[in-house]
């Protein structure tokens, strides 16, 4: 059965947005990670769709790398690091912006990014991938940023950063149809190292303050 390409693109962008909303609505670390994992799987799938349509093997490689690093390695790493932390510190109990309000704001951010992209890029002769995925990637970027600034938990900041990165990856892939594989590998290695460093910081933070609350970082300690 021949499935039209545009419908596959639409479905995958809807799935990406739904998974991003999953990160916004969940309160616990396990929930964020599973939403992120799901998002990465969908991202790898949409990269593979672009690869299939353009026929470039480099994008296939990028898709497989995305799947391995983002859907398997990074979540495992984060789970391993936070194993020793008590469960009550892994829950966003008291965010700056309530969960309900941040959901509505995220919906408005999706609207904003679609509006921005359609205002600025509609004349710029883009192909169907760019037109479908660019607004999605911009909304991933916005929502990731919003999650980072509106939550107290350090774990949530890491997840927000990862969402932003997913958005940027989608942006480049959709717009350029594959920067060279070396650069992709470099970016992925960068992320991996970034997550490792932030995991290290998280571990130190949980040992020093016994919590992941960002507010505890603001007070000076005299010892």
């Amino acid at each position: 059965m021949q499935v039209p390409l545009s419908e596959v693109l639409t479905l995958s962008s809807v799935a990406l947005l739904v998974s991003t909303f999953g990160v916004v609505v969940r309160r616990g670390f396990a929930g964020w990670l599973s939403a992120y994992r799901y998002q990465s799987v969908v991202l790898a799938g949409s990269t593979a769709v672009i690869a299939y349509a353009t026929g470039l093997w480099e994008i296939y490689a990028a898709a497989i790398l995305t799947l391995v690093v983002k859907a398997i390695v990074i979540p495992r790493l984060l789970v391993r690091v936070t194993e020793s932390v008590k469960d009550e510190f892994k829950i966003e109990a008291n965010p700056y912006v309530s969960i309900r309000l941040s959901l509505l704001i995220s919906a408005l951010l999706v609207a904003l990014s679609y509006g921005v992209i359609h205002e600025t890029l509609i004349s710029a002769n883009l192909d169907v991938y760019a037109l479908t995925y660019l607004p999605v990637s911009v909304s991933l970027f916005f929502i990731g940023l919003f999650v980072m600034v509106s939550r107290r938990m350090a774990l949530n900041q890491v997840v927000g950063l990862l969402i932003i990165e997913n958005g940027l990856f989608l942006f480049t892939t959709a717009l350029t149809q594959g920067v060279s594989l070396i650069i992709e590998v470099g970016i992925l290695a960068d992320i991996l190292v970034g997550v490792m460093i932030s995991a290290l910081l998280l571990l130190r933070m949980s040992q020093t303050f016994d919590s992941f609350d960002m507010v505890s970082l603001e007070s000076l300690k005299d010892d």
């Binding site: 419908e7 639409t10 479905l11 962008s13 809807v14 947005l17 739904v18 909303f21 609505v25 969960i99 309900r100 959901l103 509505l104 995220s106 919906a107 408005l108 999706v110 609207a111 679609y114 359609h118």
Partner: protein, 322 residues
């Protein structure tokens, strides 16, 4: 209905419409039975037969009623108002065939109004007997229903914008003509409509339909005082509401197998009705699975889920206007 010019045709259409309504009432308790059975099996219980709701209703129907001395006419009339409002709402909804008998007289907004009327009288009856449980159930139901409303209306806007119009017969016809649409607005609409149906029909995680524990019940608390024939009426209308809402979900969002209009002949209509039955049964199995998977949420977390529905419908609107 200008499609039908000859008298014999219009007579046939009326007959089909009437048959559809009768079928809705006949199958509604069966759906409840299927849900209970699936839920029992997924919890490693055997469960009662799928026909158990019929036995319960027929037994309740012949039993005596107990009515509190302190209750007013509201308490006694509420089950009949609820049942009549639900029946009238069912007459407006194309359930098994893409046609509803009253479609010329009102659209989807009227259906929502009728269901709201039924709910309003259930709530009144809950307070009328002045038992503490009735009050608790009513206040919870008020909270949930006032939060369901914006999501429901946004979803209806999404559906009517995408398919055109608010008339249910033409909406279902349009959905059937467009086949399986992968329109992003409809996908987001489907998500929010599913959550809203869970809230409207009082399933988990909003309300546990199987509980009589005072801290958790919502709908059960309101109808706790009822017995006999009144209870039978209320349970039957609850099942009917569930069936028509699930059928609406199937017909609007998953229109596979639905004939595009009523005058395609009896065989395609019958096949379409069977397809609707199969789809509704599948959706109810899904709902029962969801019920087994999740626990009832704390009452003050319920708005979170309803906000998901609202946000999802909002994104659906955004996608429509692109």
């Amino acid at each position: 209905m200008t499609l039908f010019t000859t008298g014999a045709d219009s007579l046939k259409v009326v007959a089909i419409g009437a048959l559809q309504v009768v079928a809705v009432f006949a199958f509604a308790p069966l759906l409840t039975g299927i849900m209970r059975k699936v839920k029992a099996r997924t919890q490693k219980r055997i469960g009662a037969s799928v026909f158990q709701p019929y036995y319960e209703i027929s037994k309740l129907w012949s039993k005596d009623e107990v009515v509190s001395d302190y209750s007013s006419w509201v308490f006694r009339s509420a089950p009949w108002v609820v049942a009549l409002a639900t029946i009238t709402a069912a007459l407006f909804i194309p359930v098994f065939v893409p046609f509803s008998p009253f479609s010329a007289a009102g659209d989807v907004l009227l259906v929502i109004g009728l269901l709201a009327l039924a709910r309003f009288f259930t709530m009144l009856a809950g307070i009328d007997a002045a038992s503490a449980f009735g009050g608790i159930g009513t206040s919870r139901e008020m909270m949930i229903s006032s939060l369901v409303e914006p999501g429901l209306f946004l979803t209806i806007f999404v559906v009517s914008l995408t398919l055109g119009g608010t008339d249910l017969t033409s909406l279902v016809g349009a959905a059937a003509r467009s086949g399986v649409v992968i329109a992003p607005s409809m996908l987001f609409g489907l998500i929010s409509f599913f959550i809203i149906i869970l809230a409207e029909t009082g399933r988990l995680p909003f309300d546990n339909p199987a509980t009589h524990l005072e801290l958790t019940m919502v709908h059960e608390a309101m109808v706790l005082e009822y017995s006999g024939r009144s209870l039978a009426l209320i349970e039957w209308s609850q099942s009917t509401k569930q069936l028509v809402l699930l059928a609406l979900l199937a017909n609007l969002f998953l229109p596979l197998g639905m004939p595009t209009s009523i005058d395609v002949g009896l065989l395609p209509l019958g096949l379409g009705a069977l397809a609707v039955l199969a789809k509704v049964a599948l959706i109810s199995v899904l709902v029962a699975y969801v019920e087994t998977r999740v626990a009832k949420w704390r009452l003050f977390r319920v708005p979170d889920l309803l906000t998901v529905a609202i946000a999802s419908a909002m994104v659906g609107m955004i996608f429509f206007y692109l």
